[in-house]
Structures are given as structure tokens and as C-alpha cells.
Symmetry: none
Subunit: 152 residues, 2 copies
Amino acid sequence: MFISTATNTLDAKGRLSVPADFRAEVTGGIFDGIVIWPGVDGPYLEGGGVALLQSYGAMINDMDPFDDVRLAFEHTLFGAAKKLSFDATGRVTLPKELAEHAGLSASATFVGLGSRFQIWDKDTYGAHLAKAQELAKASRHLMRPRRSGGDT
Amino acid sequence: MFISTATNTLDAKGRLSVPADFRAEVTGGIFDGIVIWPGVDGPYLEGGGVALLQSYGAMINDMDPFDDVRLAFEHTLFGAAKKLSFDATGRVTLPKELAEHAGLSASATFVGLGSRFQIWDKDTYGAHLAKAQELAKASRHLMRPRRSGGDT
DNA sequence: TTGAAACCCATGAAATCCCATGCTAGGTAA
DNA sequence: TTACCTAGCATGGGATTTCATGGGTTTCAA
């Protein structure tokens, strides 16, 4: 699982260290790296391992081949996604258009969300988090563990 | 999987570089190149490796041999498709009739859609993508990965 | 013989690889 | 408990390779 938050620097070459915890989640599979795409409803990036993208693909495959919504998903997800492989020290090179979408300049904040993660500008994320915490507090009664809680 | 978007130039000879990521998807098979056909519902081209065409063929084979729909599929897909092989530097020569169908002049935009890809004129695609993003945003609640977690 | 397609080579930019450095946390020994 | 040591991690910069692109030359068929 991708958990916790970490802010790393984005250097002049567009390189960005992926937190070691996150790397451990995706290494050992077919592709030694991550997949990232722009968030559909805000200035952030979303991503995970290739397996995550494949699981979205499985959902899309269940839809009619020429359904407009299916095509929209295919274009916004697959069309906009980028495969970024790790260098020897665990960094990826972030394409300019993705950095711009998220408004990233000198640093980037990784936020683990369980099965996937997001990348935000540090300050933008601060504001977003404050709102999220408020909503979580207001809705806290909806949060309850499923049967037989503590996994592993 | 074919993912991400890239715009390459279409030179005076009709040559077009296929993005390296896309080439990697199709090389190593029987045929070292791609297969392309005109999009049925718009000014774009659609294609993939020979394996993609074979999978469509398998679907068509399940239909009644004299079904009008089957014949229509056979003609629009197999009849219009072209096999384009790579030159030493990974380019293909795009036939004029295909370039015209997609309204391509000086450049072409490759869009990966998972199991296949499309080729658009850059500006035409910009407008198409904007609509797709709007619909994807409005329908984003339908988007959820299958197969529990997406780890690994 | 003339046009088109395939092949060969050159070039600039961008991505990738390689090596070095500082920092921090965790463990070990005095 | 404290000082030290070490391993893992993030970061910086230079070197090398890959990739897209342009132009020339050869080959083949109409």
C-alpha cells in the first residue's frame, strides 16, 4: 500500500526522487517504474504501478467499444498517462506537461492513498488537505472498519 | 500497453517516426511494424500491432459468414488496413489516402489507448480531447478499478 | 525514364546512465 | 547514556546513449 506523505525536490533536469517506500511497492513487477497521469478534477497527478493502470483497463474493457464515456476514459487515462522508469538511484524524469498540470516548480509532494498515490505542489496540497480534513471530520460517523479489522 | 501522447513530424516524403514506446510494444513479433486503418467515426487513424488485427479477426470469425454486418466490418477493417513496416530508424511511410482521412499535414499526434492507438492531427485532437476530458470529468464516478487493490 | 519507395548516413536535442556527496536514522561499542 | 559508525536515501553534476529528424543515394516498377 502507498501510505504517508513526502516532499522531494524536482531538479533542473526534471528529475524527481520517488520515496523509497513507494518504490518498494512497484519494483519486482514487469515494469520497474511508475505510471502517472493528470488528475481529472484538479491540479495534481495520480499514479501507481502498471498493475494499477491495468486494473483501470479491466474496468474500461467491460464497457461497449464505442460508448462515448469509454472513449473519454481511454483518452484521458491512457492517452495522458506516462510510463516513468526509475534510474539507478530511484528517480524518474517528470515530463514538462505533467509538471505544469500540477503546478510543480522546485519540489513535489507525494501522497499515498492506499492503492494509488498523488503528486501535488506542496502549498496547493496544504490547502487541499485542510478542506479534506474538514470534510473528514464532518463525515467521521460514516467511517467504520469492515468485519475482522486489522489486516496483517 | 500503448499509453501516452506524442506528436511527431510528417516529412515531405510521407515518413513518420513511430514513438519508441509504441515500437517496443510491437517489435519481436512476426511482423516488425504496425497496422493502421481509418477511424470509422471521425478524422483519425487507428492501429496497433498485427496481434491486434488478429484479435479483431477472431471476433469477426464468430459471426455468420454472410451477415451484412460481418461483411461491413471485413471491408472497413481488413479492406482499408495497411501494414507499415519500420525503417532502420523506426519510421513508417504513411500512405496518402490515410493521411488525408485524418487531415494530416506537417505533423501527427499518436495517442495510446491501451490495446491500440490512434493518430490525429494535432489541433483536431486538441478539440477532441477537450470534449473527452469534459465527459470524463462528468462521468468520473463510474471510474473505479476492478480486481481489488492495484498494488505491485 | 521517371516517380516513388527503401536504404544509408549525419546531426541536435533530450533522456538515461554513472559517479560523487551530504544527510539522517538506527545500531553498536565504550 | 553517549559518542561513533554504517547503511540507506535524497541530491547534484558530468558523460553517454537513445531518439527524432533531415537529406542524399540506390532500387524497383510503371
